[in-house]
Symmetry: C2
Subunit: 563 residues, 2 copies
Amino acid sequence: MKTKQKSKLSYKWMDKVPEKGSFRSIFKWGKGDEFKHPSQGFLQVIKQELNLTDSNFKTAEKLGNEKVANDKPVNISSKIAEQLKKIVGQDNFFCDTYHRLKYSKGKSMEDILYLRENIVDKISDLVLHPKDKADVLKIVALCHQKKIPIHVYGGGSSVTLGLDSPKGGVTLVMSTHMNQMIDFCEENQTITVQAGMLGPDYEELLNLAPEILDAGHRYTGGHFPQSFEHSTVGGWIVTLGSGQASSYFGDAYDLVISQEYVTPTGHFTTLDYPGTATGPKVNDILKGSEGCFGVLVGVTMKIFKYLPENTKEFTFMFSDFESTVKAAKAISQSEFGMPSILRISDPEETDVALKMFGLSDSFFARFMGFKKLKPGQRCLMMGQADGEKKFAKNVHHQIKKICKQHNGIYLSGYPMKKWRKGRFSDPYMRDALNDYGVLIDTLETAVTWENLSELYENVRAYIKKQPNTICMTHASHFYAQGTNLYFIFITPADTIETFKKFQRGIIASIEKNKGSLSHHHGIGRMMAPFLETHLGKEQMDVLRTLKIHFDPHNIMNPGGLGL
Amino acid sequence: MKTKQKSKLSYKWMDKVPEKGSFRSIFKWGKGDEFKHPSQGFLQVIKQELNLTDSNFKTAEKLGNEKVANDKPVNISSKIAEQLKKIVGQDNFFCDTYHRLKYSKGKSMEDILYLRENIVDKISDLVLHPKDKADVLKIVALCHQKKIPIHVYGGGSSVTLGLDSPKGGVTLVMSTHMNQMIDFCEENQTITVQAGMLGPDYEELLNLAPEILDAGHRYTGGHFPQSFEHSTVGGWIVTLGSGQASSYFGDAYDLVISQEYVTPTGHFTTLDYPGTATGPKVNDILKGSEGCFGVLVGVTMKIFKYLPENTKEFTFMFSDFESTVKAAKAISQSEFGMPSILRISDPEETDVALKMFGLSDSFFARFMGFKKLKPGQRCLMMGQADGEKKFAKNVHHQIKKICKQHNGIYLSGYPMKKWRKGRFSDPYMRDALNDYGVLIDTLETAVTWENLSELYENVRAYIKKQPNTICMTHASHFYAQGTNLYFIFITPADTIETFKKFQRGIIASIEKNKGSLSHHHGIGRMMAPFLETHLGKEQMDVLRTLKIHFDPHNIMNPGGLGL
């Protein structure tokens, strides 16, 4: 049992590997035996802002330790089920309720709330672990013929209800077997992998390319979403993810050279030219299709030289959010290349971060005071430059110059090191807090520079109208034309319906204030009902047409993307 | 009358502004009163390789000075023609054969050969110059209702038969009125213009942003195709063009933030987020549609800080093509950012270039000999770095380092200056040579590094099989995964049919050798017959489906993209 951070309080965190077959084993973030607790500083903020006391942390509730009853009938005929079993083999075929539930749920706060209530809903009828492309071809052909819905499960980290299966059907789990390398082409700086390869396996393969692949260099995929450890290469593409280093390496969208797709009406691989002028690019049309067009079985991705020795970290503190945004905009528009990681936090997130990093009562805090950087106003910028040595050095140098112009105070690389420690493990904390009725959820959006301030103010105001609620906001993916905003809200438990209403209200507020429905989580079934308003009917009709083209019987994630 | 380069020979170049209404006034490149002759060195190469003597340059033939007869009947009812005239106004309505021919032809060698033969074929019935979007909406609605083909003319520089109108119909000329700025957003670093704005107007507007737009900086669009002076912003996007500085600024594809489209079934503007995760991106689906989906009326483009003071030029000479390619690949894969311009020439192009630049008999040539860089083997690399000062300096520095590792000899910036002089004006020379029966044509392709060598060897071998033919090849747009190859072939006059057979054979050879049908010219009706083989039926079906969606009556450039 590994615990990432021991609380100094006497709270009894529920650090037990979830029981096999339990609801908790489904919704718990990450590995069964890894845990992370809120730091004392973070917990203090939560108690203060949510108006809680130690007594609220005495009795953990709705832990989901109950076993999932095996009582949901399979709505696929036994004849077809047998045919499917024959395709994948007995060992890769599951029809029990537990497996069906496990692979139909993601990691959204809403998923977790339902699972803690032992509610089994919107699950597929069968879970299949295809061995290879041949299996997928047979499954898709049969399901197309018999009009049986197909859902695709990558790493299961969806926070947008991307895995719900309200019409049942089968779920294909890609990460079990379809996680192998297909081809490595050092000359083209590309790697081709099966869609189910998980982030760490992908990155390790590239980092160890000289040893494993007999390559001349070490490489990196450059894609590190917070879900890195529990998401697949294919999942990154079908949901249009962005890694924490996307400002330099690009979003998943930019990293894809070509794709191999099995759709109900065809099986094809897109062309692998990095640039071409032969009409609308089918490769790009498929990106972000969230399982609605077919099954992504293989992808050829751009890779990059792995040069961690060149990394240059930086942290700055600004007097207010406005000047922080201005500095980040100037960095994004100044033609010296981009840092790989760039993050700016609003005052509320900055204060929480300093407490989480244990910097609020320290010499550091006194230094802040001395510099007149006040809590509730001051804002953090963190990041790192990567790439060739002098390139990275110049990016670092130019950022320092710009930040100075905006009266940013250069801090050490220390906060970056603290952030790096938690970059993949912070979600573990959610389970610990949820056990005591503290809900944590996030929503994120893309926005142009022009609309950022209004969006930020209005969405934040909406969230803060909810009593006793923390709202921390950051931007973490930068373009010359705009950025994203990522809202983290922490609020006391309520009924699921009330929570959903509040959360959907935030989405509506984002959309109304000219934010996109998602910058890098995809839309899932959570944002899908807003998509037509967002795109307009004409553009929604284009997606409908593509849907009918690839999937005339509407079996691929039916209802996904609102299609 | 401006003549760009006086020949020292006594050839009588046809430097006369073409007669109004003549075929020559249609096919002549560029401005009527601008001319450019081959340099003495270039002419020497041509005579030698094509086995010509001075006597071949005595009698100019097929000059196209004949007037276009006004004798082609209009195949649109006068009632509908009147309705269309009412929409655009009398002054913007043309039904005479000359105008119909002029706006149905591009600048391919094939276009020119037919026009020199006074052949009037595949022309539209009416030429309309829409005043604004409202006109376009009315025209498209009427033509959709009456099933009348619509062709869109931007700057007319197509070299792929992109303007042919074999089913007649109407041609909309976008550059006459629809060439205005719609919006400038310095905060987002974007500009929104009508699709018909020409390159020089677009670039001037951005360069003079402080004076014209009250901006805080000067900007550049970063897009400089050879056709820059005679192509439109909309044309760049619908054909997926690349500028000569694309390796840094990106291809037209990368520069488009959003588009406003009028299609037979809808009118919409795509969203303007630089990155978003809300399903397949309709903005990207539309790029490269070559007028087959609708009329692009407005575009929002990324712009860049204009920093010409930071430009750092470079030229290197390598001992052979292989090491030149290797150096260019290393540059493209080394993570220090990209130079804006990067060009490598094969031995044949290098030798011609040195003669064109007047460097073959000079001190420079002796220096080459001293360095054992032999004619017929040595290869030129030229380029420039742009961007922020230290960024550009480092790119320049790293390129020098890489080239040295590949035994490249650093030359002055002089060849770059010579190249820059001719970068937009070289096509004028084609007319001069065509007058004496020397044909010049180009084909270009995208290719991955892995396939470059085989493609180069095989396509070059195919071209060189044609007796007395020059084949110069360069790569000029670079990515970590590959580049383009641009074949320029110069061959003696023959019948149009023989020439076409030869030229189509080159396209087939490119396709067979794993090149794309086009890297940045689009495919037009020239490559369209090859598209289904290139993409495969499944992907061609996706384009067919989109075509039917946007244009169910097949009125938008019918037959374009092979649809």
